[in-house]
Amino acid sequence: MRKFAIILLIGIFVTVITACSANSDQAAENSSGNGEISGDLTVFGWGGGEELQSRKEATKIFKKLYPKVKVHEVWLPADNIDVKLDAALAAGNAGDVIMISPDWKGLRSKWFEDLNPYIEKDQLDLEALLTQGVDGGYVDADGKREGMPTTASDFMIAYNKDIFDKAGLPYPTNDWTWDDFSATAKQVSSGEGANRVYGIVSHWILQSFAPFIYGGMPYNEDWSKQTLDDPNTLKGYQLFGDLVNAKAMPDDAAAKSMPMDQMFAAGRAAMYPLGVFEASTIAKNIGSNFQWGIVMPPKDPSGKTVNIKFQTGFAMNKDSKNKEAAWAYIKTVSLNKEVGDLYSKVNLPAAKESAESTFANLKIEGTDISMVDFVTGLQDAITFPWGGSIAKAGDLYEQTWQQVTVQGKTAEEAAKAYTSQIQSALDSIHQSK
């Protein structure tokens, strides 16, 4: 039996290896142009899929514009990239330009060059050049600019029109509130067991929306005090706990039965918080299964649409030996129209001209759904609240969320158990500064 198993496994392995062939992209880059800047430049970034491909293509555009600069690219998977970056920065070989997010823990440290003098030298009017909302978080309290944005992503609520029609409900509109959202999610839910159709999927981003939806906050502006126990914050968490209790949102077991994007694409959930980065994938998965649309996330009681954004940009390594080329690269991948148009295929570009023309005119692949709402949605969106330095406290907020949506505790009970731990985590951030 063991011999048979070994032979079978060897057979599968050999067959598969033989059947497959490598496909490496080694297209030569022929540059042309008259750039004055020259020398070596190392670009350090991470990611995957089409987004990474667009970053590589953007580098090709840079090479065309600055043919005398020899670019070395280091692209790695995102998981645990902080560990690599910590070591590389300490060793002084992290590259001249480094991909960053405004919430990354490495910011507000000694590693990065202040970009203000470069912006002033080139007389750049960033307000006129950058998409509204894309730039938040790159400038420190003391005015030091640590990075320039390249892309961002915010969220819309995608909804299954067929499920709404079946429930006899009107489609949501951009002026809906979170109370409307909650009521709608409950009304469109139907069925039992494996055939249950949920109002909203149990998406990982909802935890980030929760504290803000009734005007609350998870912590104050300088991260010195937790505000989880604020009544408005608690109300936000409780809304999602109530949705799980009403079976309008999958409980833990149901959520683990299949990925949430698949659940929506399979018509087993009426609504899905859709990020720009995943729009085309979700559209492909839905195919012609059902009719669908998107709407802005609901408004908080003050009438402000609540949205969360993820931003990506580039910073200049203070140890760079070719700062001129490094700035040229950062400027190109942030503000160049051709690059912005390229990014538009997968994300919301930082270059305003591209965002408001190319991106806004795009439709989600294979649909007639316009992308323009994503541009509007970015304006007031809140930077992802759990990244970078706040991640340790973020783990505790995650546990609070689990208490409410998995363990069935009330938001008040969960907050009682976690507020002091969260406060300690926030205190430790300030102590380690």
């Binding site: 598969v16 062939s21 496909n23 560990v83 299949m258």
Partner: protein, 285 residues
């Protein structure tokens, strides 16, 4: 009396049967994720998430393997992983057994202290040594080469492996060494010709653990490698996951299956020695 023995025999049979039933259930629970991976790898996308899950695909396809493999240069990644795993394992087995031999057979005033120091390195979090090690390899010009993934294995082979092999060496009577000395063998010949063959199960155990570790290692390649041409399978797989997440689970499972098969084959081949190696370690401390 006969009835008593008959009833005892029956009760014994029931106990054995019950044990087998329980063991079978546990085995099924443990093997289910692998079976699911195997089954999903051959499914078309629409079948990957059907509820309840189907173990045997309705439409059987090889496309997941072909498309998944073509997504990146997995052939090169496999080759790099084979080089790293092969050489690092040779280094681990040789150097760990050499150091363990020293600790097991040669006593000095500081042997105990030195051995404690070796064991203490297991307590050291990897974060503590990361930056100095990275700096060292940068200075040596080894960054973005396979050297940092291979060469350290030739310098000690890891505290746990040294401990494991030392325990094994200590189970072998010293009379063997003494007989060899009388016959004119030196210390190295005793190590190489007498003791190493005697601890084959332990060497295979250490080898298998080293293979599994280096084959699956993600952190070291991530930290020391920069170029696509040097990447290992673990990095390739992570890129794949970053790119598709769970949306192409059937392709991810197909590529994962290919990467896990060599380790499985080795485990099947060496499991007898592996179990023997682990169980015998506790004989003498």
């Amino acid at each position: 009396m006969e009835a008593y023995y008959k009833s005892k025999k029956n009760s014994g049979r029931i106990k054995v049967s019950l044990s087998y039933v329980i063991l079978t259930i546990i085995a099924v629970v443990f093997i289910f994720p692998f079976i699911w991976m195997l089954s999903t790898a051959f499914k078309i996308p629409s079948e990957a998430y059907t509820l309840p899950p189907k173990i045997i695909p309705e439409t059987f396809t090889w496309d997941n393997f072909i498309q998944g493999w073509q997504y990146a240069d997995f052939t090169r990644y496999t080759w790099n992983t084979l080089i790293v795993t092969g050489l690092a394992t040779i280094g681990t087995v040789l150097s760990a057994s050499f150091v363990a031999y020293g600790f097991a057979r040669f006593k000095s005033r500081y042997s105990g202290l030195l051995f404690t120091l070796v064991l203490a390195t297991m307590m050291l979090p990897s974060q503590v040594t990361l930056v100095p090690t990275y700096l060292l390899f940068t200075k040596l010009g080894w960054l973005d080469t396979l050297m940092p993934l291979i060469v350290p294995s030739f310098f000690g082979g890891g505290a746990f492996n040294i401990f494991l092999l030392r325990q094994f060496f200590k189970t072998i009577p010293k009379d063997l060494d003494e007989a060899a000395y009388i016959d004119g063998a030196n210390a190295f010949q005793i190590y190489y010709k007498i003791l190493l063959p005697a601890i084959k199960p332990a060497l295979i155990t250490v080898g298998l653990m080293s293979i599994t570790f280096h084959w699956n290692d993600y952190m070291s390649p991530l930290i020391y490698l920069n170029s696509d041409q040097n990447f290992t399978l673990a990095i390739g797989l992570q890129f794949f996951q970053n790119s598709f997440g769970s949306s192409q689970i059937q392709m991810l499972m197909a590529v994962s299956l290919i990467t896990v098969i060599p380790v499985l084959i080795l485990f099947f081949i060496g499991q007898r020695y592996f179990i023997q190696g682990i169980t015998m370690t506790g004989i003498k401390g």
